[in-house]
Amino acid sequence: MVNKAVITDLIKNFDVSFNILRADINPKGGKMLIEINGSEAEKGIEYIEKAGIDVSPVKRVVKKDKDLCIDCGACVSICPVKAIVIEDDWTVDVNDTECVGCKLCTYSCPTKAIKVVE
């Protein structure tokens, strides 16, 4: 644990927005699962690494429920890494290996058909 308001400085000094998804902090140290977005996200991550925090990207799998999905395509253009594509037969497909787990698709799907599991 670093004895500094790292996160506070992060938001103040960089153009980032973030979500604390989980926090597990005790006097000896702790872990936080955060999602960092924004134009300076990478610089921001560099900054917290320099401040002495271990940063490791989370491994996740993205799953689409075939019965719930209506193949509308609403999730396609919002995926930052083009992991979601429309196939030749107009089925919407998600490419697990490309996914970075940002969950934007999960949040935007009108039928809640797509989930990211850690």
């Binding site: 193949d71 609403a74 253009s77 083009k82 935007s108």
Partner: protein
């Protein structure tokens, strides 16, 4: 020239030639409209999109003792029951009355669950009369035990619809889906080449009484939909934006859950995905030509949904070939596009309707009255009270600070003027950041002295010409209490605070007697 009767005879004889609208485009391209009109009898269309203006009339049957229901809730979603004693209308966009559920389960979901055959909890209440003494009840209903469950959608099947983009620097959630900041994506809705009303753009065959495919059952067009608009600018014979609409009716007891779906647009509301297919009788070569329209010929305007105004600025014009390709180019930048309505389902519907007709199960109907093709343009609703713009609000004299100011001086300034926010500006009055009393307290606690070390650099701002209501929503969204007002040439003009706005609202309500 062919009549509907002649086409129906061919359907009954098993001789009718039926193709989808996508196939027809190819056929006319290869053989010409005259030959296509001779050979083809029916073109089937399809769409499966979010249609908010949908709902259903339900008749529950009479209880013993009887009740004259004045409030009804289906799985917690209110239905309108100011119609007789045991009828109600459940609208697709009505959210659950339970705050934790809200838009995640709305009228659209109730409709889907009914069609799926699920049991739905019904809670009803009443004031009680001599002939209807019962004042409340709680029971379960389902599609089997309802007397009638009739879907009546006031406005479906938009003839074309603008695509959406967001030019602001924040993500926004709209009925057109999630729109990424800084023109990060484009969302479009129409089924393009398969879209029913784009294949009969002047309503030469569609009208009151036209039999259609509606959510897997037979349904009917019962007239123009609300906001039916015939005066939208056309290119290649079809409107470039939302235009004609349909009012539809269908029996939910016959519907197939495969072709209807309750959904929720995040942070917007619930909506119903409705599967529709309309058969277009090829009565002459003119209609054959119209059904031959291609995705490339259907122009679609891309509008800025970042502007929360009635008329949104057009960012550019595109067409469905481009939109469906996965990206469009705007100012030299590739921007990803994606549909909001399912083309896969639209095609499935066009093919399903085609097979119904081929099997002789579905005959075409002669409309009693064609839809209006001219003279309709919806009027806007003018509000009595004028929107107040930011620069019309009386704000306190402008007080600012400079980045190199000492924090103690800044604190003094804030106390003297009893303000909680201070914009930090450069020599030209250009905004550099903002500081709040909380930041100051924080700085003192941490032993910092220079203002520039504690100010927030990312500032949510208000423009002089924005309506105050828009600012109120922004304050709410960002959970902040004040924003600097910025002029066209980026100078700080003042501050607008939550207090200013509530004072204005109070004064306004007093005046209006609300």
């Amino acid at each position: 020239m062919k009549t509907i009767e002649e086409i129906n005879q061919r359907i009954k004889d098993g001789d009718a030639v039926v193709v989808t609208a996508a196939e027809m485009t190819q056929i006319v391209k290869e053989n010409g409209a005259d030959k296509a009109a001779d050979e083809i009898d029916v073109v089937t269309t399809g769409t499966f999109g979010a249609m908010c203006s949908s709902g259903a009339f339900l008749n529950f049957g009479h209880t013993d003792p009887p009740i004259k229901m004045t409030k009804t809730y289906l799985n917690g979603v209110e239905a309108y029951s100011g119609i007789a004693a045991v009828d109600s209308y459940i609208g697709a966009t009505q959210p659950s009355r339970i705050p934790e559920i809200g838009i995640d389960y709305g009228g659209a979901h109730v409709i889907e669950d009914l069609i799926r055959g699920k049991d739905i909890e019904l809670i009803a209440s009443s004031y009680g009369t001599d002939c209807y003494p019962l004042t409340d009840l709680k029971t379960h209903v389902n599609i089997e035990n309802l007397n009638e469950a009739i879907m009546v959608n006031p406005r479906n099947c938009y003839q074309n619809y603008a695509a959406a983009i967001n030019t602001t620097d924040e993500i926004i959630y709209t009925y057109m889906g999630t729109l990424l900041p800084n023109m990060g994506n484009v969302s479009f809705s129409s089924a393009g080449v398969l879209s029913p009303l784009l294949n009969d753009p002047y309503f030469q065959t569609i009208g009151m009484g036209t039999k259609i495919f509606m959510c897997g059952a037979e349904g009917y067009v019962i007239g123009e939909g609300t906001q039916h608009n015939t005066e939208v600018q056309r290119k290649n014979g079809v409107p470039v934006n939302g235009a004609g609409t349909l009012m539809l009716k269908g029996d939910m007891k016959q519907m197939d859950p495969k072709y209807v779906r309750g959904a929720t647009m995040p942070k917007y509301g619930s909506t119903l995905y409705v599967g529709l297919g309309i058969p277009i009788p090829i009565i002459n070569s003119d209609i054959a030509q119209k059904t031959a329209i291609s995705d490339e010929d259907i122009v679609c305007q891309i509008m800025d949904y970042g502007t929360p105004k009635r008329s949104k600025p057009v960012v550019m014009e595109s067409n469905y070939k481009q939109l469906r390709s996965g990206s469009v180019e705007i100012n030299g930048v590739e921007i990803e596009t994606s549909p909001l309505s399912s083309y896969k389902k639209a095609l499935e519907i066009a093919l399903e309707l085609k097979s119904w007709i081929n099997k002789g199960d579905f005959l075409l109907s002669n409309p009693v009255k064609l839809l209006k093709s001219e003279g309709c343009s919806p009027r806007p609703l003018e509000i009595r009270r004028q929107t107040v713009l930011v620069n019309e609000i009386k704000s306190k004299p402008l007080i600012t600070a400079n980045p190199n100011d000492d924090i103690r001086d800044v604190a003094k300034k804030m106390v003297q003027n009893s303000i909680n926010h201070l914009p930090v500006v450069d020599a030209d009055q250009k905004l550099l950041g903002i500081v709040t009393s909380w930041d100051i307290a924080n700085a003192v606690a941490k032993g910092k002295t220079m203002l520039k070390d504690v100010m927030t650099k990312k500032v949510v701002i208000a423009r002089e010409d924005e309506p105050v209501d828009v600012i109120a929503r922004r304050i709410d969204k960002h959970e902040i209490s004040g924003l600097p007002i910025i002029s066209k040439n980026n100078r700080v003009m003042g501050m607008i605070t939550a207090e200013d706005i509530s004072r204005l609202m109070c004064a306004r309500n007093l005046k209006d007697g609300v």
